[in-house]
Symmetry: C2
Subunit: 98 residues, 2 copies
DNA sequence: ACTCCATTTAGCATGATTGCTAATTAGCCT
DNA sequence: AGGCTAATTAGCAATCATGCTAAATGGAGT
């Protein structure tokens, strides 16, 4: 859903997580150490991002590897561009199949 | 501030307002009738958008004309694209001078 | 000044979000 | 099984967001 995506993007920590993930997949714990919030807090941010399908999680034995889901991020960017009147051939804010 | 922008975009009604405004400036009251929220609620959404500098308001005698501030919306879209690794020569999430 | 219209601000109730600590689950290893 | 590490879920307090109704403001016209 478009809305969960924008809501997920509304928190600076979550945008920062995506910025880190942009450079490559990362383990959850690895991310946690980069921010000075508590681990559970990081875990929740990741859950929100996952819920919005902005990231995917993959178990690697003991730990969990997160990576960006670029296509969803792309859709969000496209929606914003649509709001600009820049024509991309699509109705702005239209729900895309998921 | 980048953050206010994304927070403003987090509400569907506000994105919808921008979608309407994309097609041209509109009077506040005109917008209010398009949505079935109360007028004060619409007014608040507009205030949030204005606070984020996503729209500008201009008095026209009795009424108030709103229009999109495309450059801010553009910056937001660019920030998202930056998160994608699409290189646009800028650091993602960097604060732009305002 | 008074009235009317357009819009905003105040104030309040409700619900969502954030972020913490403590407790739990999941997998690996001996 | 027991113990270790990694990560999540539960539960709670505090803050923020939403949306309403009622009251206030701003401008125009009489």
């Amino acid at each position: 859903m478009q809305n969960t995506v924008f809501k997920a993007l509304a928190h600076p920590a979550r945008r920062q997580i995506l910025a880190l993930l942009r450079k490559g997949p990362r383990l959850a714990g690895d991310l946690a150490t980069e921010f000075d919030t508590s681990w559970p807090t990081m875990s929740r941010h990741l859950a929100v991002l996952k819920e919005a399908d902005l990231v995917t999680a993959e178990r690697q034995g003991n730990q969990i590897l997160y990576r960006v889901n670029t296509s969803v991020l792309e859709d969000a960017a496209t929606a914003l561009l649509g709001l600009l009147g820049r024509d991309n051939g699509d109705d702005p804010l239209k729900e895309a199949a998921e």
